[in-house]
Symmetry: C2
Subunit: 279 residues, 2 copies
Amino acid sequence: MCHHCVIENVKQNMLSRRSLFKGGAAVAGAAALGALPVSAAAQSPAASMPAAAGWSDLTHELWDTFPTYFGGQQLFFEKQYDFAKDTFNLYELCLSEHTGTHIDAPLHFTADGKSVAELPIEDLICPLVVIDIAAEAEENPDVQVTPDHIAAWISANGDIPEGACIAMNSGWDRHVATDKFRNVGDDGKTMHFPGFHVEAVQMLMDETSAKAIAVDTLSLDFGPSPDFIVHNTWLPSGRYGIEGIANLGALPASGATIVVGAPKVRGGTGGPARIFAFA
Amino acid sequence: MCHHCVIENVKQNMLSRRSLFKGGAAVAGAAALGALPVSAAAQSPAASMPAAAGWSDLTHELWDTFPTYFGGQQLFFEKQYDFAKDTFNLYELCLSEHTGTHIDAPLHFTADGKSVAELPIEDLICPLVVIDIAAEAEENPDVQVTPDHIAAWISANGDIPEGACIAMNSGWDRHVATDKFRNVGDDGKTMHFPGFHVEAVQMLMDETSAKAIAVDTLSLDFGPSPDFIVHNTWLPSGRYGIEGIANLGALPASGATIVVGAPKVRGGTGGPARIFAFA
């Protein structure tokens, strides 16, 4: 049996046991969980965080059939130890790095760019700029963030902060548990969801010190993109991306700080991340 | 071929390709990477973080042969797309949840306790108490954090803050790339490294509102433990643990806040986490 077939067999075996895992394909509305105040930290007289600080969780819960760019399942579980028999529970997970709320490191679209472990933490904890295109996305799923959107944000909020993460809030996070998240068109293959336009990321590269872009959809490029042009422009510059971010609607356009819990896997091209913000 | 054998075959196949992954078994001294200032966030006039705030990275880099409690390899890579051929790089990872700097959720040692996705974010972002036993660990690798250590911390620093994470700094993080991290004794099986004593976690449960404990070793229980008694006492109470934390030596005993980027995997018993602190 060839290696590929062995892998596929393992996946099928794991898939058949998927019902072991509670929750199945249903989703508990992760988008509703954002903007929780962190009373514990605020209560601590020792903590240096302002007492009024509020934190949000920008991470979707991840389950085995979380929607994927390529359409196939990308997360598989095998229970290696079981509480009833072994006195503890433990799973082995097999997953694509680019699953769920996750990071695209420069190495994802370069021969030898920075891996996810090499992103400096000053790029992971930075000012968050939220560009709201939700109303436009409601009318046109193929809408893209353009230089005009960035210019409008600057007019309303002032200059883009140094070293910022520029996030697209298209409202698409609320579709995560439905077919609308991939939104395949009548041709049965082309996806339709918002993303960044290459001219917008070129503007960010030319005129700002932005370190990251984030989208609440499956790809930095909009759904119909034939060529990953935003990936191919942004990531080779040494900057990184976030895909599948959630709950941006709970945040102000300006003034929040994002804390990106990127996995620290040596040589990794990205990976599922736990992402918080405070504002 | 039975399922177990198929899995083992896949692992062996992946293992044989390990040399593809840069870095191999060598380690780049992750412990030396902590305590980086986050100038970007501090520079942003819009950010609500105090300008003087400093962030640390409490996460070890994770590589395929990162030392494990059970001794075997727990992380395997398969390159599914290659830049030269496919214009992008992407790996599939197979890993035990309990690998690297990682979380133990209550579900790890209970039939139906909270999964890692169910930990509320107010438990993940909380005051950090650092108990330093590094000098004792230098003399005795089997040293445990006792109620006396906690009482001494309170005498020096005041009450344990509400909802805190209590971390053991034994200095063991600096051994991560060597056999000293597992430190197997002359009998060829018993490990020797520091951990919490069950009386200390019982005291934390009885007298404080602590939400988490953290160790810079492979287990909440000290190496020679025959019975996981700390796991079996702490986790069923609904609290969680952190194993393999790094760089605690860069932090004050009191006054820091920990930000635990726990994976948000539905039904997960834990998982590799990206952990930061600011002080």
